[in-house]
């Protein structure tokens, strides 16, 4: 059809047929409106301007930079800087408020918890896990069992100075002897102590071995773990009578702990993070569910002012 000298004309519209047909439906050569052409030219002009203003044309090792100097990295850096500037006063306020005063300011506390949530994901998850649930040897921070103490100030101190950092004078320090390895106790004595610990933690029934172990415990272990095995927070000695075990509560693991001792290490963070970040981390860890009351918080709770309501009209 298309190469015919005399094109066929559609009777209804007076328009030429294009020569394409699908099941009896034929295409007409209807002209586009002129203004459409002008909008098309306008987009071309816009595109030329755009490629001049913004990075566009590929060159050998990068694209043309564009006269506006815009880049996605630059835009990100700007946004980050703006965000930092936006939260700077908040960080300053958190840094300037001692941790025991933080609970008196619910909004600041909430901001600190959220900031801590973010910082935790960067600095802490490697050992404590993304949900802060820990694993064998790395404490679960969600529970209510604390080696060194679970109130805000104590948590902040632990994060600041770390645990058993050899190069830091203020670090939390204690040393459990390796009773078996260093031959302080015989193998049989260690077994007896393990039997005793299984009894005071409510896992086994009292046996003759456990009764022998009780005496050995009183002589060797009670100085740190207490006569009843309730532990000591001054020394980071765990409570051996509760349901929570850092390394495991079965007989074999307890025996290993007594034989070789355990000396978990946590880095100090005062040389890596600023005061505000450490305080926010402490607030976050405290809020995970096991946080213990400081005197200030007890007073607040007695007032009944912390009812847990956190209304948000935006949701």
């Amino acid at each position: 059809m298309a190469d015919d000298k005399t094109p066929r004309i559609d009777a209804a519209t007076g328009t030429e047929f294009k020569g394409h047909e699908w099941d009896g439906i034929e295409e007409l050569d209807t002209p586009l409106p002129r203004w459409w052409l002008w909008t098309f030219y306008a987009t071309i002009i816009f595109a030329i301007g755009y490629t001049i203003a913004y990075p566009a044309w590929p060159m050998i090792d990068s694209a043309t930079r564009g006269v506006l100097g815009w880049s996605s990295r630059g835009a990100l850096a700007e946004e980050m800087a703006a965000r930092d500037a936006q939260i700077a006063p908040l960080r300053q306020a958190i840094a300037a408020t001692t941790i025991d005063k933080l609970t008196g300011q619910p909004q600041l506390m909430q901001a600190a918890v959220e900031g801590g949530r973010a910082a935790f994901k960067v600095h802490c998850v490697q050992c404590h896990g993304s949900g802060a649930a820990g694993s064998a040897g790395y404490p679960n921070l969600n529970d209510d069992d604390w080696l060194w103490g679970g109130d805000l100030a104590t948590i902040e101190k632990t994060i600041t100075d770390g645990i058993r950092n050899p190069d830091h004078a203020d670090t939390r320090m204690s040393m459990m002897p390796a009773f078996g390895r260093d031959q302080l106790l015989t193998g049989a004595q260690v077994d007896d102590v393990v039997a005793h610990v299984r009894v005071i933690s409510g896992q086994d029934k009292r046996t003759a071995a456990a009764q022998r172990g009780a005496r050995i415990f009183a002589d060797n272990c009670a100085v740190c773990h207490g006569p009843a095995g309730k532990g000591s927070r001054e020394l980071g000695a765990p409570n051996l009578t509760d349901g929570i075990w850092l390394y495991g509560g079965d007989a074999a693991t307890i025996r290993q702990s007594v034989w070789n001792s355990r000396q978990g290490v946590m880095p100090r963070w005062n040389d890596k993070l600023d005061q505000a970040t450490i305080r926010m981390l402490a607030a976050y860890v405290h809020r995970l569910g096991g946080g213990e009351a400081t005197p200030v918080e007890t007073a607040m709770a007695a007032d009944g002012t912390t009812n847990g309501t956190n209304g948000d009209a935006g949701q």
Partner: protein, 477 residues
Amino acid sequence: MLMPTGSGDLYEKRKGVYPKAVDGFYRRLKWAIMAVTLAIYWVTPWLRWDRGPYAPDQAVLVDLANRRFYMFAIEIWPHEFYYVAGLLMMAGIGLFLVTSAVGRAWCGYACPQTVWTDLFQHVERAIDGDRNAQIRLAAAPLSAGKIARRLMKWSIWLLIAFLTGGAWIFYFADAPTLQHAFWTGAAAPIAYGTTAVLTATTFVLGGFMREQVCIYMCPWPRIQTAMLDEKSLVVTYKDWRGEKRGSVKKAAAHPGDYGDCIDCNQCVAVCPTGIDIREGPQIGCITCALCIDACDKVMAQVGRPRGLIDYCTEDDAAAEKQGRAPRPVLKTLLRPRTIAYFAIWGGIGVAMLFALGARTRIDISAQQDRNPIFVRLSDGAIRNAYMVKIRNMETRPRPIEVHVEGLPGAMLWTDAMARDQAAASLATRVPADSVAKLRIFVAAPPAGAPRQDFSFAVRATDREGGGAREDARFERP
């Protein structure tokens, strides 16, 4: 003529359309509809509706920032968006209903493009004069007078366009406050941007693009074409009555040779899209019925019966052509197809009204912490944590009590409380029209199924009462 003749040009220049003023039944109907639609558009944001101290007092408000939609006594939250979806469905099916019954009535009377173009053309006639004067002015060389008229016309258009674009933003914020902020430069940039964009589009689409929008840009004419059938009322030139066209003089000289159409071209002159209805139904016809008014007037002048151009169905056209009587209009309008559309439309409406009447204004959702799933406490108890959201959709604060059902021995506390304050239920106060987010710890004895289903229940402890529940799961090692 809409479509070009076979000239072979790739692009077609817009041919000016200079519709002549006309008076008649349909013109007056169009005036009335224009007045009503424009009044609704401009007045609605200024209507007030008292909702008490905790909610805005604007009758119709789309509060995007706070994600609330207010319409008189109805307040819709984002999770209730299906009401808006229902309204959109009703609007769609309503259009089907109208189109199958009376053709492109939406296009001809109520479409904003039609209403504003009509308004702009009225302004044009006031400044430039009627059709012939407009044609002369368009052809005239540029002169001081022509420039003055153009500037005058465009200024008025721009003013209307600005009022149109400016009114839109009042639907999205408190109108009096926003108006004050707008003039003092304190409004949000988006308000100025929206006004500018809508002013520009109104000015260009109503002033210059006009019928080009209907013919080239709008998908609706194509869709409507598919919805019309042989029983839809469309504007029809009754060619069996009108042909052969000829002047009154010729018809008097040769009675019997000529039909009723005197070929006065008034139907073409008044057409706002510049078509000739006598060429039959076409995509350019928005069925505004102004040609009916024009033709009726001429028929009255020459003493012939009205309705040479008239609303007529395809079936009736065929019947009339063969000398049979057309179906009664009521029978045309009430046919299975329109009744089915109406039933669906009404069904959705009734269902929505019922749902609106029966919906609760307190709701709860609970999302369990997944990491860690559970925590063993030092006394051996197992603790799960949940992010519980309590929605108070009333516009006043309400006291709410939360407890769990189906989990024996469970104790509840929040992350802002110490565990020794845990109790079997928690009392809180949810602010007006907001969501309280509580991180709730639930501790239960370690003995029990590893996965135990239970539910959170909330209850309003004020006089009105009411409550809701949400299923949840308690996990143990």
